[in-house]
């Protein structure tokens, strides 16, 4: 983490699309009267999705207006959570886990790839496709190392398959989410090492 400020170049205005506004109204309706502020995180999240995955100042103010909150209250939340991007990000926003299990499993290599292909953290590539950020544990330690690209996890990375993944994304080819070495969820790599015999009803 570091000090987070609003980005320098800001769009003039922000307005929720009619669909998003309608969606936001359903969120607000979940809370009792006078407690609309409870919808602030979903509202900011939706605003961020609508605005290419980052929150401009106008969006923060628009959420404050929509929920009847002081602007500073919304800014507090937008700066508190790292999932809110306060500056533009690439079309593919890569959040790389660098916490201990991923580090032990080789996240350094992935960082090298990113540094070579994308550049330093927080910088969007010239074609606008990629930007990356090292984040704390994303909770997929058993499939380390891993990254999150936009809404999806990509696990069991190596320098090679990660590079291929980036190539595919850049070329607009379909990519596989989850494990990149074909394992199912968090099953062991290779063959089973424990619980090797069937048990219960299946054993008969």
């Amino acid at each position: 983490m570091s000090v987070r400020r609003l980005a320098e170049g800001q769009p003039e205005s922000f307005e929720f699309t009619p669909e998003n506004r309608a969606w936001l109204d359903t969120q607000i309706a979940k809370y009792p009267d006078g407690r609309q502020a409870s919808a602030v995180v979903p509202a900011l999240w939706q605003a961020q999705k609508q605005n290419d995955n980052w929150l401009p100042q106008a969006a923060i103010e628009s959420v404050a207006d929509a929920l009847g909150m002081a602007k500073i209250r919304v800014l507090e939340i937008a700066t508190f959570y790292s999932m809110f991007n306060l500056a533009p990000v690439g079309k593919y926003f890569i959040q790389l886990c660098g916490t201990t299990p991923c580090l032990l499993a080789g996240s350094d290599e992935i960082i090298d790839v990113l540094q070579r292909r994308v550049g330093p953290q927080r910088r969007v590539t010239d074609d606008g496709l990629f930007s990356w950020l090292e984040v704390e544990c994303l909770g997929a330690c058993c499939n380390a190392p891993m990254v999150q690209i936009n809404d999806d996890y990509y696990e069991d990375l190596t320098a090679e398959n990660f590079e291929k993944l980036l190539d595919n994304l850049a070329a607009g080819r379909p990519v596989k989410t989850g494990s990149q070495i074909g394992r199912v969820s968090s099953e062991p790599v290779g063959k089973l090492t424990s619980l090797t015999s069937l048990y219960g009803d299946g054993a008969k």
Binding site: S2, L6, I72, L75, F80
Partner: protein, 686 residues
């Protein structure tokens, strides 16, 4: 009530008391930074840790744990709290060490030095050395307005300022952005705070992060002479402490008075300090050939005496301004009686308040503390936020507690709480009286904006009718409350400083050709048309002095002892802090000298003698800090008058909060605040 042992001392406290309050009750001081009696509980500084028996076996934040959270012992022994055990000592030392990790060691150049909670508590509860050799965290200083300077390296994140602006001031200006080590206290994108109470955040700040900007690097607290007195910037009569050094007023701070201002004061009260030094009248002046020239007291008094003797009594008038103490108003009244003129008035704004309706008709009968007992409120032609920001905070406090419906007739303004807007003028009020359901303990606040107009008396009657018919007057409750804007007004009305039989009121006196001689005791908000010879007695070269033919320099409120009666009718004593500048004298002494020059000296030679005389005729002035309550029957009687009000909307009583009196108009700080506020208004209008 619950029994609890604090360090072996048994105390009996309400079960919703916090442990911290229980410890204080038992006489043990608990160090704290984030906890403040008048703000919500945050529990984030951890300085108030204590050890408990009957609760979790670890240090507990005593501000955030209540007495009822503790269990009694197995045999019903009361729960115990320890404030001096080794665990507590170690916990406090640890917390203090953590707080000091990032706190700069710049006490020698910090304005908070000498009155700093962190300094004091580090001395008493901390350790003598640091074990941290890493670089300290650096934080950018923020711009948060013209009244509060920031030095954000020093911030310990107690969030008192955030809670104050969110809860008491109601503007939600400040917040904490970021998280963890990167947390920063700021306003929204470093905009200026918009509250009229923003100066209080500097008082609340336990360290030197938020400091009063106009007083930067001016002095140390131990150099100041501290005088406890009363504020006159509005009719609230807030309790203040004026710090002076030599002949100079250095700063003004609030004192605690739960009945009046709790512990807040408005920015105008706090920061007109520089206005006390500029534009001062420090010698008499006489107008010759259209220009004012300095003169001696003898010359000036002789000129006034000559003019007075040459003028028939019916052509003489006397005006009392907004900042006059009771004594000088009384002295002027005696002088006017000697001269035999019926032309007296203290209502320079033309408010149709009249002592003939009884004292209850012009008091804030509900009392300021009583606002918290009210069940609903009706605000008529007032903007309490501008007319008395601290009183407005009290209304907000009641509103925050919930179940408090506020209705408003008059100017639609942001008052920091929600209200039903009924309309702009008297007809909306009339409709409300006819249609609304009565409420329990209705508070009817009548502002000067509703009264300072030709049909003011009718509006006053309508307000009384509203109070009478909608639950404003009942057994033990008188909710009819006039919100004054002038500190001198209630005292002068108590003295019946209003036109006698056949006398002219202030507006009529100011008309060209109405009078030949006007004694103007600091009335600067009224434009006296050409014609009359004006004798101005006052402290500042403002509108009144510009119009004057003779100026007799008086004393500002920090330079004289005197009585003031606040809007609820509470008699309070102000004390002299410093002496008036140059040849200026206390106003009562000026009037006494003037009567001497007229050959008929007033019957007192000292303030004490004047007060004795005052109390003989008006005994309630002897009850300092007390309210002589108005009678509810007077409100009922007032309501029975016929009332025909015009349709014009109520105009605001105060155009510019920062410029309501000559001292404020002389202050550069107030001018800066005003420019900021105007800018905000222009922005809001776009």
């Amino acid at each position: 009530m619950t029994k609890i042992l604090v360090d072996g001392v048994e105390v009996d406290v309400p079960s919703d008391f916090t442990l911290l309050q229980a410890c204080e009750q038992a006489g043990f001081e608990i160090p704290r930074f984030c906890y403040h009696e008048r703000l919500s509980i945050a529990g984030n500084c951890r300085m108030c840790l204590v050890e408990v028996k009957g609760g979790p076996p670890k240090p507990q934040a005593s501000c955030a744990m209540s007495v009822k959270d503790l269990r009694p012992g197995p045999n019903g022994a009361p729960p115990e709290v320890f404030t001096k055990s080794p665990m507590v000592k170690k916990a406090r030392e640890g917390v203090m060490e953590f707080l000091l990790i990032n706190h700069p060691l710049d006490c020698p150049i910090c304005d908070q030095g000498g009155e700093c909670d962190l300094q004091d508590q580090a001395l008493v509860f901390g350790v003598d050395s640091s074990r941290y050799h890493e670089n300290k965290r650096a934080v950018e200083d923020k711009y948060i307005g013209v009244l509060v300077k920031t030095e954000m390296n020093r911030c310990i994140h107690c969030t008192r300022c955030v809670r104050f602006t969110a809860e008491v001031a109601g503007t939600g200006d400040m917040g904490a952005i970021g998280r963890g080590e990167d947390m920063e206290i700021t306003t929204y994108l470093e905009s200026a705070m918009s509250s009229e109470l923003q100066g209080n955040v500097a008082d609340l700040c336990p360290v030197g992060a938020l400091l009063p900007k106009p007083q930067s690097f001016r002095g140390r607290p131990w150099e100041y002479q501290k005088t406890e007195t009363i504020d006159v910037m509005d009719a609230l009569g807030a309790a203040i402490r004026v710090d002076s050094r030599g002949r100079e007023v250095m700063r003004i701070l609030p004192r605690i008075n739960d009945l009046v201002n709790e512990e807040w004061i408005s920015d105008k009260t706090r920061q007109i300090v520089d206005g006390l030094k500029t534009q001062r009248l420090d010698r008499p002046y006489i107008r010759e050939n259209g220009r004012l020239r300095p003169a001696s007291w003898q010359e000036a008094l002789a000129a006034v005496a000559a003019k007075t003797k040459a003028t028939p009594a019916s052509r003489i008038g006397a005006l009392v301004g907004d900042l006059a103490a009771v004594e000088e108003s009384f002295a002027l009244k005696l002088l006017a009686e000697q001269l035999g003129t019926p032309n007296l008035d203290c209502r320079q704004d033309g408010a149709k308040l009249n002592p003939k309706f009884g004292r209850a008709s012009y008091l804030f009968n509900a009392t300021i503390a009583g606002i918290e007992q009210a069940g609903a409120a009706l605000i008529i032609g007032a903007n309490p936020r501008k007319e008395s920001p601290v009183l407005n905070a009290r209304i907000r406090k009641r509103w925050l507690r919930g179940d408090f419906k506020i209705s408003l007739v008059g100017e639609r303004a942001d008052l920091t709480y929600d209200y039903d807007y009924l309309g702009a003028g008297p007809e909306s009020l009339l409709q409300f009286i006819r249609s609304a359901a009565p409420a329990e303990k209705l508070l009817v606040i009548v502002g000067q904006g509703a009264l300072a107009r030709d049909d003011g008396e009718a509006v006053l009657t309508l307000a009384a009718q509203a109070a009478q018919s909608l639950g404003g007057v009942s057994d033990g409750w008188n909710g009819f409350s006039v919100l004054h804007t002038a500190a001198a007004r209630v005292g002068a009305l108590d003295l019946k400083f209003t036109p006698g039989a056949g006398g002219l009121d202030a507006r009529a006196m100011a008309k060209s050709g109405a009078l030949d001689l006007i004694f103007n005791l600091g009335a600067d908000e009224i434009a006296i048309e050409p014609g009359a010879f004006v004798v101005y007695i006052g402290a500042h070269g403002d509108r009144g002095a510009h119009r004057a033919d003779v100026i007799l320099p008086g004393a500002a409120y920090t330079e004289k002892s005197g009585l003031y009666v606040n809007t609820e009718g509470r008699v309070q004593r102000a004390f002299r802090v410093v002496f008036p500048p140059g040849e200026a004298r206390e106003d009562w002494a000026v009037l006494r000298a003037l009567s001497g020059a007229l050959g008929n000296p007033l019957p007192f030679d000292s303030l004490a003698a004047l007060r004795r005389r005052l109390v003989e005729t008006h005994p309630h002035f002897a009850q300092v800090d007390e309210i002589a309550p108005g009678e509810a029957a007077q409100i009922v009687a007032l309501a029975n008058h016929p009332a025909v009000a015009m349709k014009d909307p109520f105009a605001p009583a105060i155009e510019n909060f920062y410029f309501t009196n000559p001292i404020a108009r002389a202050s550069a700080v107030m001018a800066e605040c005003s420019a900021l506020a105007q800018g905000r208004l222009a922005q809001a209008a776009e």
